[in-house]
């Protein structure tokens, strides 16, 4: 198992390098000039200087190498400095945003808590809803509850978040006036009232994100339970005279959870991607909105870094899912 984990970790390095190269080349080979917005009255030699200042003067491979060094070598040092008060990274150049002229990672670190808070809550809520629904639909297959579950999850698949989000804004915030339509990230929770406000503004984005995840997870849970319910060991457990609760909730559920746990792990990066739209609808200033803003402002270093962070998340959680599968299911040990 350890062998397998190490092998996967080593394989993840070329994958990440390839992805960073794809992102870099995509931004590099794309036509379009970052100096296009500069007024025509600026003389060409000044423009050339501005180019140099943005780090655009050197050939492509050198800039790729510099970016790799900045991202994988200097940024971790900055993190260590920040945590332990050391001075490893002093004087090193960091990835600088063209919009704000400050290091990209500083802005990302400011934005990540908002995203994590909303996305994380939505994921937990969705798991808590989806698992019981999946278990019960499988246990009573083709009952009206199961049919309802199938329909609701089909709807959850089909209604895109930019529609369900706008719909709940119309209903709960415009018509009923229960919840604010804009997520206020400056709110400081220090009293009961502000806690209620925070709860109120989180309900709608969490609801929209959770609907989608619930739809997928509950279907998966149901399929996995159905696979196990007809197995021989279940009949044995029943024949031994175990209570129905023990048979379903201990014997079947434990075995059905193996693939579901990996799907939960695999879904986390996708959720960050999906949150881009939800953040845009509810004006949450998380990393999704940061990405959209950077794209609209043509801030290439920021776009590059953020896209790469999404890629790292995907690779990391794929790895976690694989390892989890091996740990949970002794039949699969890969060696």
């Amino acid at each position: 198992m350890l062998n397998f984990t190490i092998r996967r970790l080593v394989l993840a390095v070329p994958t990440l390098l390839f992805i960073s190269l794809v992102i870099f080349l995509l931004l590099e080979l794309a036509p379009g000039d970052p100096m296009a917005q500069v007024p025509l009255t600026v003389p060409p030699e000044v423009k050339e200087k501005m180019r140099e200042a943005l780090g655009l003067g050197q050939p492509m491979h050198i800039r790729f190498w510099k970016w790799i060094v900045q991202f994988f070598w200097i940024e971790p040092q900055v993190l260590i400095d920040h945590m332990f008060g050391t001075t490893f990274s002093e004087g090193d150049l960091r990835v600088i945003s063209w919009q704000t002229r400050s290091p990209v990672m500083d802005i990302v670190v400011q934005r990540i808590p908002q995203t994590l808070w909303v996305v994380g809550t939505a994921y937990v809520v969705a798991i808590l809803i989806a698992l019981p629904i999946g278990i019960y639909s499988a246990y009573r297959q083709y009952s009206w509850f199961d049919q309802m579950g199938t329909f609701v999850s089909m709807v959850g698949f089909s209604v895109p978040p930019f529609f369900s989000g706008v719909l709940v804004i119309v209903i709960f915030s415009v018509q009923l006036g229960w919840f604010p339509s804009i997520y206020d990230t400056t709110l400081v929770v220090n009293s009961w009232d502000s806690f209620m406000l925070q709860l109120k503004q989180m309900i709608m984005p969490v609801m929209v994100l959770a609907l989608q995840i619930t739809a997928q997870l509950s279907r998966f849970m149901r399929a996995s339970m159905l696979d196990n319910l007809n197995q021989d060991y279940v009949r044995t457990a029943r024949a031994k005279g175990l209570s129905e609760y023990t048979v379903v909730m201990v014997h079947v559920l434990r075995n059905s959870m193996i693939p579901v746990v990996t799907v939960i792990a695999l879904g986390i990066p996708a959720i960050f991607g999906g949150a881009i739209i939800t953040e845009q609808v509810f004006k949450v200033n998380g990393i999704g909105q940061l990405l959209i803003g950077a794209i609209q402002a043509n801030d290439l270093p920021m776009v590059q870094t953020l896209t790469f962070i999404f890629a790292v998340l995907i690779v990391l959680f794929n790895l976690i899912a694989d390892v989890l599968y091996g740990i949970l299911d002794p039949r699969i040990r890969y060696d």
Partner: protein
């Protein structure tokens, strides 16, 4: 259902039937009289029993027909500006009302639907072609299997939505300069969605090809000297058709949602060229006063995707010979 099954089992005996007419019961005679059934007939019979799939198919055909044939009946030009009758509610002249420039929303919904549905279908075809091509190559030729599947894994590890957004940002101007504004963006969106959504199809097709390649009929074809390309097109491709068809329906759904998402984020088609996603995006500005402007395009997207998903669900059941006939 049982009736058909008995017919199926009798088909191989048909040639012998006249010789063995020692005790022909009328029941058997009747069954022999029915012509042999094709595979697609069985698929259709199974498909018909799935109510959701039938409803989905009817709804999808209805939406596609309404979007493409509707403009012949509803003759108002979607771009015609009538500033005097702007922001009207539903009336007989404008069943869905008019927008802030007095353009008829029903006409705009139809023309937006044409774009959305054609983007969905074209992008699906591209993804399907790429996916089947890579899947068949990887499954059939052992030497290509490793590299092609690593490539698929790498593509699966790419963050798709951010990359799509970046592609839209970077290639929008050159392409619209080369092919004209509308066609350029159409090509861009179709290619972007197609290139980023072929991976599931490739994986499924590869798995099926790997299994079929070892079957006797492929060996038989090879032993009479059939070339590789002939084996692929005449023996392998028809047998992997069912997973391809299922991923085709699901592909339309994802392509429509992705296109709408891009338009919703303001990186899709230009404002004067409506799609359902763009209409929804434009409607958000008037959310407080005219919520129905958001409602109609959103409902159109959701219903189309829902119908296609149900269609795919039914198709999957109908094409699976293990489920069919039960």
């Amino acid at each position: 259902m049982t009736d058909h099954d008995r017919t199926d089992t009798l088909i191989p005996d048909e040639g012998l039937a006249p010789a063995s007419t020692a005790l022909p019961t009328t029941d058997v005679m009747e069954e022999l009289a029915t012509p042999p059934r094709s595979q697609w007939r069985d698929v259709w019979d199974q498909f018909k029993t799935h109510k959701g799939a039938m409803l989905g198919a009817i709804l999808f055909i209805f939406i596609v027909a309404g979007v493409y044939l509707g403009p012949f009946i509803w003759g108002i030009d979607p771009t015609q500006i009538d500033i005097r009758s702007r922001n009207q509610g539903p009336s007989w002249a404008h069943p869905f009302g008019t927008d802030q420039l007095g353009r008829d929303i029903l006409a705009r919904m139809m023309s937006g639907g044409q774009t959305s549905v054609s983007v969905g279908i074209t992008a699906m075809l591209l993804a399907l072609f790429l996916g089947s091509f890579i899947g068949v190559l990887a499954g059939f030729f052992r030497r290509l299997d490793g590299p092609l599947m690593r490539l698929t894994d790498l593509f699966l590890a790419l963050p798709l939505l951010p990359l799509l957004l970046v592609m839209m940002l970077l290639f929008r101007e050159p392409l619209s300069a080369a092919f004209g504004l509308e066609r350029g963006i159409f090509i861009l969106i179709v290619c972007a969605i197609g290139i980023t959504s072929w991976m599931p199809t490739a994986r499924i097709v590869r798995g099926d090809v790997l299994a079929i390649k070892e079957r006797e009929f492929v060996l038989a074809a090879r032993s009479i000297g059939t070339s590789n390309s002939q084996i692929i097109t005449r023996h392998i491709l028809p047998n992997v058709l069912s997973p391809i068809m299922v991923s085709a329906t699901l592909g339309i759904a994802t392509a429509i949602i992705t296109e709408s998402a891009l338009s919703f984020l303001g990186l899709g088609f230009p404002p004067d060229f409506p799609t359902w996603g763009r209409l929804l995006f434009d409607g958000v500005d008037y959310l407080q006063q005219y919520p129905e402007r958001v409602f109609w395009p959103g409902l159109a997207i959701s219903l189309t995707v829902l119908s296609v998903n149900y269609l795919g669900d039914g198709l999957r059941d109908a094409l699976d010979p293990r489920i069919r006939g039960r």
